[in-house]
């Protein structure tokens, strides 16, 4: 014969006091809390302050991004302003989302770095911000800045970041890679 169903007893079953089990007082307390929050936030809105914790992206960005936040890609530059990138395609190869497209060009006058990117584009609609491109780069040519790309758009074709936009990062002093003195461009390979 089948035994009647018995509800399982859990060792951590919640215990309610009589006050809590009376239900109505706790319900009223909850309503009181939410209405106090409502009135407090409403007062902020009415007096012209912001009564919400929400960041109004993309118009606002959060101030508390971590310093190592992987945001927008930047391409580092040589002192003469050319990208440090040598178009080796390592970042494009390692990219798990396959969003980097590089078209290499050849410049016989620059003997140290004859290969350079003509086109360097990243599709931000697919980028996963993993940072593998930064790690793969042998030239420290690509890094990720703290700021987010700020590219929300109604058209995914507008979410490509081009070479020009990534070359805007030009710090005076770079701790990670000190620049050689202006004019003294180091030449590797010694083809003087």
């Amino acid at each position: 014969m089948k035994k009647p169903y018995q509800r399982k007893q859990y060792w951590n079953a919640p215990t309610l006091t009589l006050w809590e089990r009376a239900y109505l007082p706790e319900i009223l307390r909850g309503l009181f809390i939410t209405s106090v929050v409502f009135l407090r936030n409403m007062r902020s809105w009415v007096t012209g302050k912001k009564g919400a914790l929400t960041t109004y992206y993309p118009e606002e960005t959060r101030f508390d991004y971590a310093p190592l936040n992987r945001g927008k890609h930047v391409l580092t530059q040589r002192p003469d302003g050319k990208p440090q990138c040598i178009a080796c395609n390592m970042c494009a190869t390692v990219c798990p989302a396959k969003v980097i497209e590089i078209e290499a060009g050849f410049d016989p006058t620059d003997t140290a770095h004859p290969k350079f990117p003509v086109r360097f584009e990243i599709d931000y609609s697919r980028c996963v911000f993993c940072g593998l491109c930064v790690e793969a780069c042998p030239e420290d040519a690509i890094r990720m800045a703290k700021e987010t790309p700020g590219l929300p758009s109604e058209d995914r074709r507008q979410m490509w970041l081009t070479l020009d936009e990534m070359l805007t990062w030009n710090p005076q002093r770079d701790v990670a890679k000190p620049y050689p003195a202006a004019g003294g461009v180091t030449k590797i390979g010694g083809a003087e």
Partner: protein, 382 residues
């Protein structure tokens, strides 16, 4: 007779317009109030761009309601291959129409004398007066319950005819839950009927314009505080909103009895729900919060507790009453939204247990105590 026709057409237009406005506005109020309550901003991205300019009107996200409406109108009207196509098509209307009809007996203003309001029309109206209410029926409250009971049929029809197990479960739940709470709702109101001695909502409001115990306005909520709480709870349950949204329970039943509905048919269900919030607000206002009158106010003006009176012109009274009614309804609607965004949901067995084991006995006790008090107060012969 023509005068009557004109006046009642105006009343009906006002009532329908008010309900439709509430229905659309409440979607916005619900979003915004929920957002403010939980430290968010709320929907504010929909905008109307003035043609040929780049000026975008956002207006605190008011246009999201319009965006919803347009979305529902242009969506594909999905037709399930069901065995009962007629019931499937008619169910949203069975839910929607009675909700509108309920408002016919709710007074939204006091006595209107068009001749005094517009002296140029005084001769044409010839001293006729109209209570601001679409249908002045002695059966008032009974009509309310009769019509609001009909929405159960719509919900069950929708659940049954969708040929979907989720819908069927939702329809079953809707049926049992709404019938249970209909009963509680009726019992809570009975106490009020005993006190006011009438089921006519218009005369109920008039009786609430006096005072009780010297200072308190003679509102139903002061006569029947327990009934007011119980009625509100039962009304929210009747409307199938959280914490009683078991028939629609998204996490369990997808969308309950309207799983198979799309486009404007689904929109009608939603619209009916939002209008019903306003209807519950109007009913609660009328029965418990003194209806369209401010405290101590009647059709002639104010009668303050000290005995002094403040006379008001007829035009001022009419405008005050219309505005006060709208404000009160809005406040009660806002309270319902507060409840919806505060309380956690019940389990299904808890919903029915709550109705039958908790609210029904309380309502009965309330009714018994009221009956004894009313009898002893009137000194009626045994």
């Amino acid at each position: 007779m023509t005068q009557d026709l004109v006046v009642y057409v105006v009343f009906i237009a006002y009532a329908v317009g008010m309900l439709m406005t509430f229905g659309t506005l409440l979607t916005w109020v619900e979003r915004k109030q929920a957002a403010v309550m939980s430290d968010r901003i709320g929907a504010n991205r929909a905008y109307v761009r003035i043609p040929f300019t780049q000026i975008k009107l956002v207006w605190l996200g008011l246009f999201h309601g319009i965006a919803d409406g347009i979305k529902m109108l242009v969506k594909e009207d999905f037709k399930p291959r069901t065995y009962d196509w007629y019931a499937y098509a008619v169910a949203p209307w069975v839910v929607f129409t009675p909700v509108l009809l309920v408002f016919a007996v709710i007074p939204f203003g006091g006595l209107l004398d068009p001749g005094r309001l517009f002296p140029s029309l005084a001769q044409w109206f010839g001293g006729r007066t109209y209570a601001m209410q679409i249908a002045q029926l002695d059966a008032g409250l009974l009509i309310v319950f009769a019509f609001s009971g009909m929405t159960i049929i719509g919900a069950m029809l929708a659940g049954w005819s969708s040929a979907n197990k989720f819908s069927l479960l939702g329809g079953l739940r809707a049926g049992s839950q709404m019938i249970s709470y209909e009963l509680v709702m009726g019992l809570t109101v009975l106490g009020l009927i005993l006190i006011f001695g009438t089921v006519d909502l218009g005369s109920m409001v008039q009786q609430q314009s006096g005072t009780v115990l010297g200072v308190l306005p003679a509102w139903g909520v002061f006569y029947q505080p327990f009934a007011a709480i119980l009625f509100m709870t039962a009304a929210i349950a009747e409307n199938k909103r959280i914490p009683f949204d078991l028939p629609e329970a998204e996490s369990e039943l997808i969308a309950g009895y309207y799983t198979e509905y799309s486009a404007m048919k689904m929109g009608l269900f939603m619209f009916a729900e939002f209008i019903e919030i306003a209807i519950v607000g109007a009913l609660f206002t009328t029965m418990f919060l003194g209806g369209y009158n401010l405290p101590y106010m009647s059709d002639a003006g104010f009668t303050l507790p000290g005995g002094s009176t403040i006379a008001m012109s007829h035009g001022a009274v009419v405008v005050t009453q219309l505005v006060v009614f709208l404000v009160k309804v809005m406040l009660v609607c806002s309270f319902q939204i507060l409840v919806r965004w505060t309380l956690p949901r019940f389990r299904y067995d808890q919903v029915l247990a709550f109705a039958w084991k908790f609210m029904l006995p309380l309502a009965l006790v309330n009714l018994a105590v009221t009956a004894v008090l009313v009898w002893s107060h009137q000194g009626a012969p045994l």
